[in-house]
Symmetry: C4
């Protein structure tokens, strides 16, 4: 089974998800600064989701460069990842439009958690197909992925108390991914 | 005539269909769990259509890897398939938003039937261009395709009695396609 | 200047236009057959536009296979063609939703005319870059293109009398393009 | 790090942005010429944004042909550019629908300014990776980019007086980019 086809399809789907998200930014009926200000939460959430999807594209593409072949399990876990990521525009819109209400922010966090978990499943299914040397590289990346999932899981119950803290956690996870690998790994190894 | 161009175009169209479908998931105005619960049928149908389109992409790509050249008939039957599949987001949205009302579920089934039938026509037009060995492989795949069409056709009149049974049939067809080929062929050969 | 980049971009834009058009098919609020019947004009126009865009993709790709290099003029005329084609989903939606009212059908015809005219400009700019043998092939295709433009131009004033006749003409042009080249050329040479 | 992947992703995102913009052109409920006339500002802004995005695609692709490798900084600045460009459909729709009201036209200008500035950052990050000869070519292009940014910055305060003058400036910038490089460079070197 050729990996190139899955890579091209996933890249296409991620490019479309990241772009159509703007269609959920409802154009205000009025034309005042106040009308625009009303969209600030939607805009913040749009920016956060844009960063997340860009990171997923980057990591996905990076991981697929290591491997050479795929199997049915990779197809399924990859499909699962794309499914949860395809719901990001919906969750982003709901969370933004309700000005970060509790339930929408929780849904956003659940989608991030499920996408993160699916990415782990995809990583595992790729490791099962990989040679030794690449395997270790993949596991190194795993570290960040596992930290993200823990942070998503922690952010969920925090929503009951204050959903804005959860949003800050989601933002911190995104920032953690933007910072180049080596630096962040040092920080976390010092914390432990 | 080069097959690569048709493959890339079809892949692009399928990636876009599967992704824009989320835009039909209407963002609720409220922010309560009840508002979200109201979307459950839409979400279930979204998931079902996502699986269907992912399977079509997979089978389409798989089938085109076998063949080497295309002709005008392939262009037409492929176009017909893409046309019916392009209506899946519409049928999905209507069926989900009306909470699986009779007529919308029937329309969804008709679109699935027409897409399945177009795929058969495409298969036939590709077999006509193929060598012997590949032909047999293609016919093997045909089995699943024909079973799907029969199940779609059976599900249609059942809608009059209870459209939820039809939905379960659509789900079973999708599951049949996810299960790897050999296992499902055994099950069906035992049933016969 | 590499032609491949322009080809890939144009293919992408055409695949997106043909696919997002379904988002303009408004999902009915009700769930009866009557609600669906109300969408029949929209559906007919959707189908017509789908055929047109598929033909444009086919012809565009075919023409670019002949040529080897592009220049600034090709970039401009190609951009002009994509611009008019990008308006097809809008014109299709307006024409369908107003159940083929006079002005919307006229606008649809004007967009088809401008797209057809831009395609002629693109053809001319490609001929200017081409060698002798390919030039003649390109001019052969020109025949159909010129007939289309004449038919679009004829259909416009007919809208004042009866816009449904214009729609039939648009449909005839689409059918003319689907029929393989040699046959249609015979018919038109016999008519002359 | 392979540049091809970033190029394909950026091309895909730009093709999608330029195409989904038409979905923001709201289909009128009526079917009269007056209903269509009401959309003229939206249409003008759509056309302007279409030209801008086509130019960005052209320049982006052109610039990436010169370079051979990319780094993390290129990934970030490229992501920043795509982020601002992804907001063009939103700003275009708001500006057009409010018939070029002050605040929406300002927002449109701010987005253009931020996109132009991000493009400069991308250029700088690419120059840092480039050899001598290509560097000079890139700096030559820089001229147009810097003029654009100055004009965007000038257009912003002018919005307070008359936003239509700002729109004319945006149009002039677009025209400046369409005119082949050598000619425009002559004009500006004569002005200095």
């Amino acid at each position: 089974m050729v990996k190139h086809r899955l890579e091209a399809f996933s890249d296409g789907v991620l490019a479309i998800i990241i772009t159509i998200m703007v269609l959920e930014l409802n154009v205000p009926h009025g034309s005042s600064l106040k009308d625009l200000a009303h969209l600030i939460p939607s805009f913040i959430n749009y920016m956060l989701s844009f960063i997340y999807l860009a990171i997923y594209w980057n990591n996905h593409h990076h991981m697929f460069q290591i491997i050479k072949k795929i199997d049915g399990r990779v197809l399924l876990t990859n499909g699962l990842l794309l499914f949860w990521l395809s719901l990001v525009p919906f969750a982003t819109a709901w969370s933004g439009e309700t000005h970060f209400a509790k339930i929408p922010v929780m849904l956003y966090g659940i989608i991030l958690l499920l996408a993160g978990f699916s990415y782990q499943l995809l990583t595992q299914s790729l490791i099962a197909l990989c040679e030794n040397e690449e395997l270790s590289t993949a596991i190194n990346k795993d570290a960040k992925g596992k930290i993200s999932i823990v942070l998503y899981a922690v952010a969920l119950p925090i929503c009951y108390v204050n959903q804005h803290i959860s949003l800050v956690i989601y933002l911190l996870v995104a920032i953690m991914w933007i910072i180049p690998d080596k630096r962040i790994e040092k920080i976390f190894s010092q914390t432990k």
